[in-house]
Amino acid sequence: MSDIDEELRSELQRQGIWVTSMQELYNWGRKNSIWPLQFGLACCAIEMIATAASRYDIARFGGEIFRPSPRQADLMIVAGTVTKKMAPQIVRLYNQMPDPKYVISMGACAISGGPFKQGYNVLKGIDRYIPVDVYIPGCPPRPEALLHAFMELQRKIDEQKLTGAGKAAHLDRTHPSEFPVPAFGAHDLEPAANADVFRPMKIERT
């Protein structure tokens, strides 16, 4: 269904007939109306607001409507330091978002703990508990960087398949859309990371 002959398509277009596939149409609609969750954690959130405000204007990319309720949001921008007190709430918010949902991890803190990595109360990366689609380095990343991440996410959505073996995760019934919420243990959050989600980089030394 996605293999349309490009020549035929352009020929038809010249005749005033527009041919597309269900998948293209569906992805086109989805990628141009990503509603982010209005959810700020720390300094990076101010850059997120700046991205939504007058100069950078994320509305040009279809992301203008920041929804305060997770039930109406497609994208969670984790913008700021995730503390151990806040991490369960973030996982809960993620679980409350309807499928399909995406996560951008904005800034050094959300990626790895950033400058506050030594802190006893700082989670060393939100990807321990929820799957992250795009990472943006920076402290804070500039609004342009967030827009770039947004465009990367649009590219990713554009490539998602509706059917077949490699179909998108949210269409795959075996794929979980909710993840266990970590609990406060005696010393730390338990579990320290969700093994189904967290895939730390392996450093190979030769």
Partner: protein, 388 residues
């Protein structure tokens, strides 16, 4: 419940039917940490009687980033970038407060041009902080989007100045013990002057929109009243204290930096309500513009760093010092104890917005739950500083 259905005769109905039915039964609502108007991750446990707030318990710590503990394990200079992230709207004033305390601790002099640059940057910070506060406060009140867009338009101009000077929009890391990191060129000063000269136009426009706005007056006047006595005994500082009519501004009281050389007035409120707190910001911005104009005229040529300061292996003598400045949100102080080693023995931050937040319950009691957001917005908090 034992209420039986009443007859429909209006005269027989007990008055205040709502409150009598709910008597003794308070509804507990947890607002936050994910809430569009809590300015970050702040939570309030509110007990409501109908719509009226009867109890309010703030819950802190969702952004506790161990700033002070990290500061004790860092060299003195190593903490400077961390101070940017305290109140992330005002990195310049945070830098200044920290530099001031270390300079006090080690007895460092600052060259004249650096002092002027500090004043210019601190007042620019005040402008952009107050402008964004007004935008946020109005969007908390329901004017969703538009005022914030105007405020951020102005803020971006000032951030451009910060960026061209220090290399970063928000986390400037600009001040050093005994001076500043980079000098401002004549072009930069001219550009800054242009932006400052154009700023009153924005203020005029903004004030025209808000000062006599009926909705704004209804939502803010007589809401969240703070008495001067309570404010003083709770240690409130900054525009919040001055909105109650207490004349206390550290720029005048301490006269740190070169502030005594400048002519400016301290705006004072009368009622201590949310409206006064809002207007206090608008008036302070005008005074800041006046200070900036004087600074652009007076700034001398010269070095910006004290050459005697050792950057590497900086060890202040044994002792303690408390340095404070008038940050846009109130008194920002750093208390440092040195044991002669390269790290401070104790590093303590006195954050203005945390202490201003302690009286939130007193301000909110008796008001409706929708007013809580407005009152919280007028306190002007930043969670990075509250939780540290």
């Amino acid at each position: 419940m034992t209420t039986t259905i009443q007859t429909l005769e209006p005269a027989e109905r007990p008055l205040q039917i709502m409150s009598s039915r709910l008597e003794g039964e308070l509804l507990e609502v947890s607002m936050g940490p994910q809430h569009p108007s809590t300015h970050g991750v702040f939570r309030m446990n509110v007990a409501l009687d109908g719509e009226i707030v009867r109890k309010l318990k703030p819950v802190f710590g969702y952004l506790h980033r161990n700033h002070e503990k990290i500061g004790e394990n860092m060299s003195y200079l190593g903490s400077m970038p961390y101070t940017d992230r305290l109140d992330y709207f005002c990195s310049m004033t945070n830098n200044w407060a920290y530099a001031l305390s270390v300079e006090k601790l080690a007895g460092i002099e600052v060259p004249e041009r650096a002092e002027y640059l500090r004043i210019i940057l601190a007042e620019l910070t005040r402008l952009q902080n107050h402008a964004s506060l007004l935008g946020f406060l109005l969007s908390d009140m329901g004017a969703w989007g538009t005022p914030l867009m105007y405020a951020f338009r102005e803020r971006e101009k000032i951030l451009d100045l910060f960026e061209s000077l220090s290399g970063s929009r928000m986390m400037c890391d600009y001040m050093r013990f005994g001076g500043c990191r980079v000098d401002a060129s004549a072009d930069w000063l001219a550009g800054a002057k242009k932006i400052v000269d154009a700023f009153p136009k924005f203020l005029d426009e903004f004030e025209k929109l808000i000062v006599e706005n009926e909705i704004l007056i209804a939502r803010t006047q007589e809401v969240g009243k703070l008495s001067a006595d309570l404010a003083i005994s709770a240690g409130i500082t900054g525009p919040m204290l001055r909105a109650c009519g207490v004349n206390y501004d550290i720029r005048k009281v301490d006269g740190y930096g070169f502030y005594p050389r400048f002519k400016f007035r301290i705006p004072l409120g009368e009622h201590g309500d949310t409206y006064d707190r809002l207007m206090m910001r608008a008036l302070e911005m005008r005074e800041s513009i006046g200070i900036l104009k004087q600074a652009f005229e007076q700034i001398p040529e010269g070095p910006i760093m004290n050459p005697k300061v050792k950057i590497r292996g900086f060890r202040p003598p044994v002792g303690e010092a408390y340095g404070r400045i008038e940050a846009p949100k109130g008194e920002l102080g750093f208390y440092l104890i040195s044991d002669g080693s390269p790290n401070p023995y104790r590093y303590r931050v006195r954050p203005p917005s945390f202490i201003n937040l302690t009286i939130l319950e007193d301000l909110c009691l008796g008001h409706t739950v929708a007013d809580v957001m407005v009152i919280l917005g007028s306190v002007d908090i930043v969670m990075g500083e509250v939780d540290r």
